[in-house]
């Protein structure tokens, strides 16, 4: 039963990792951009949430109403002002520019909020639990998982059922022809980044309610998201959710064997999958 519990808790943790990964997956799918600052943007969203709760007295979940639009606008501006200039055949500019961005965000947060770990106060929600099938489940982890499934279903629907999604897929397939068909790819990329950072905002708030955070943890969150994307297979959103779950389960089982093994177990499972299935479990975009 202990092991079943570890697997269930790991699955729920995987929901959070899928939220970390969804934005990364979306950006890569639309413009082949890998955003090194992604983890720091998650942490930035958590801090914005913290400010919203302390300054406006909002509940962390209500803070989503402020933080999600704020991050989305930031994403659009960031893409149009800086990142669009880096896109091209050479992979170096986007990589190094987002790397510089990561250092800037990290140190801005350090300057504004200090290096002390912070946490959002969600009141009773943090400790609320219910029992199901002999297991005791936290309301917050279950809620995070449900939100993750909802977000991925929403992204999937946007991609395949809306005009915006069609524009995303067209620019992803062939930028020049999409441009000839009257799509402004700079605008489309801006919208894609806005959507990705809106998802990132949700990820940051859920992270900030669940655990304490400080400005330096962005890199670790980027790596979890990245591992979920690669395990699931590039460009496959449902695969990303599965990847997040596999990572979460590996970590909780690792932690059960030895607390020092939690993160290591996750990384090792990732490396094993990379060795056995280099394109991930459910690849969609072939290289």
């Amino acid at each position: 039963m202990e092991w079943v519990n570890a697997v269930v808790q790991g699955t729920l943790l995987g929901g959070l990792y899928a939220l970390f990964a969804a934005g990364l997956s979306l950006i890569f799918g639309v413009m082949r951009l890998v955003n090194i600052a992604h983890g720091d943007l998650i942490v930035l969203a958590a801090y914005l949430g913290l400010s919203a709760t302390t300054l406006l007295g909002l509940h962390p979940l209500a803070a989503l109403l402020v933080v999600v639009p704020a991050m989305a606008i930031m994403g659009y501006v960031l893409q149009r002002a800086i990142l669009n200039q880096t896109l091209g055949k050479d992979i170096l500019p986007p990589l190094l520019v987002t790397f510089g961005l990561s250092v800037i965000i990290q140190n801005t947060l350090l300057e504004a909020y200090s290096a002390d770990p912070q946490k959002m106060n969600a009141g009773a929600l943090e400790t609320a639990s219910f029992s199901a099938g002999g297991l005791s489940l936290g309301v917050l982890p279950v809620m995070t998982f449900v939100i993750a499934v909802g977000v991925i279903a929403g992204l999937q629907w946007t991609f395949y059922r809306t005009a915006l999604g069609r524009a995303f897929r067209a620019t992803s397939d062939n930028q020049e022809i999409a441009q000839l068909m009257g799509l402004n790819r700079r605008h489309i990329f801006g919208l894609a980044m806005a959507l990705a950072l809106a998802v990132t905002a949700i990820a940051g708030i859920m992270l900030g309610i669940r655990t304490s955070f400080d400005p330096s943890i962005g890199g670790g969150r980027l790596i979890f998201g990245f591992e979920a994307v690669i395990i699931g297979g590039l460009g496959n959103l449902w695969g990303t959710l599965v990847g997040g779950v596999i990572l979460g389960v590996a970590q909780t089982i690792g932690a059960k064997i030895d607390p020092g093994w939690q993160l290591l177990a996750g990384h090792l499972v990732f490396l094993i999958i990379l060795a056995v299935r280099p394109n991930g479990l459910f690849p969609r975009i072939g290289e």
Binding site: V34, Q85, L92, G100, F226
Partner: protein
């Protein structure tokens, strides 16, 4: 004018002057213990180690297209090898540095086989995962102090030299030697057959492949050689620090972020770039370091602006403006009798 009046050469008067000046500067630097103060020597030693790291990262990213954000894996690995070999193997520290390089190359082989499956930017994050695995693994080794790390015993430090001045001079010379060896190694590698292949890959991977260059093998060799040398530099860095912990040894900021900024600001894909970048980085650091986090933000902004406005860095600007290079690497066509005008 017939074709025989022309010949192709790599050297020019600028490279010859640069070689003579470089040699003079090197002699002055070797003599530093006789003219520089203790603090200056310490700073210069650190500068040389960063120069070596930057030149190695530049060889990988600027020439082989292997953009790694995980070189701290080998810096930390080399550092831990130094501690393990001297403390438990009874090896002399300088011998341990060489063996650390060998082990670095050895462990880089399976790592390369694994992460070479990832392309472009995903390769970059893959290298970071490897560095994390190294950090978490060394944090599990309790004989090396686990998560809190350990210090180098006094006896081992004494074995370098019995006097404090002697140790300081030796560690300065080791740092200088590492920078000279790395730059010389990169230079001769680029002038070799492999280097020509590498330059071709840098300029156009598809065309290089169609001319029969084994791209995978060339990149693999570069990755292994870089890992070995980076491990040796790492061992040297922690021989100077005398203390190691997983967080310090595998710090992405210290061993990768700064190195990337140095190369980008100086000029990626040139030997001169890292040299200029290191000088600028240390000049900025010495003037702005009191500002703490603001200094790092400024560094990030400078790197982004350079990447967007002058992607070839400061040396790139100088080179396009004046058409010079200090290391004779590219070929030029020269007229044999420049005095004769017709």
């Amino acid at each position: 004018m017939t074709p025989s009046d022309f010949h192709v050469t790599r050297s020019s008067s600028v490279t010859k002057i640069a070689a003579v000046l470089g040699l003079l500067i090197l002699i002055i630097l070797i003599a530093a213990p006789y003219w520089a103060g203790r603090a200056d020597m310490r700073l210069m030693g650190e500068l040389f180690l960063y120069l070596a790291l930057a030149s190695l990262w530049n060889l990988m990213a600027g020439y082989a297209g292997l953009v790694s954000v995980g070189q701290q894996a080998y810096v930390g690995f080399g550092g831990y090898m130094l501690f393990a070999l001297t403390m438990f193997g009874g090896v002399h520290p300088i011998g341990a540095i060489v063996i650390a390089g060998f082990f670095g190359a050895l462990i880089a082989v399976p790592v390369a086989l694994l992460i070479f499956r990832l392309r472009g930017a995903y390769f970059a994050i893959g290298t970071w995962v490897i560095a994390e695995v190294f950090r978490l693994s060394f944090a599990q080794v309790s004989v090396l102090g686990g998560g809190s790390g350990s210090s180098l015993p006094v006896g081992i430090v004494r074995s370098l030299s019995s006097s404090r001045a002697g140790r300081e001079h030796l560690s300065y010379w080791l740092a200088l030697a590492s920078a000279v060896i790395v730059i010389a190694a990169v230079y001769f590698f680029l002038r070799s057959r492999n280097g020509l292949a590498l330059t071709a890959i840098r300029d156009n991977e598809l065309a290089a492949g169609s001319l029969g260059i084994d791209i995978w093998r060339t990149k693999f060799v570069v990755y292994i050689v870089t890992a070995a040398l980076t491990s040796m530099i790492g061992a040297l860095i922690f021989l100077q620090k005398l203390r190691i912990s997983p967080d310090a040894a595998f710090s992405v900021n210290d061993w990768t972020a700064f190195v990337i900024f140095i190369v980008v600001i100086g000029g990626i894909g040139t030997i001169e770039g890292p040299i200029i970048g290191t000088l600028i980085f240390f000049a900025l650091r010495e003037t702005l370091a009191d500002l703490g986090t603001i200094y790092l933000m400024v560094l990030g902004v400078v790197a982004i602006v350079i990447m967007l406005k002058a992607p070839k860095g400061i040396w790139g600007l100088i080179r396009t403006r004046f058409d010079v290079e200090l290391f004779p690497l590219s070929y030029r066509v020269k007229h044999s009798q420049t005095a004769q005008k017709d």
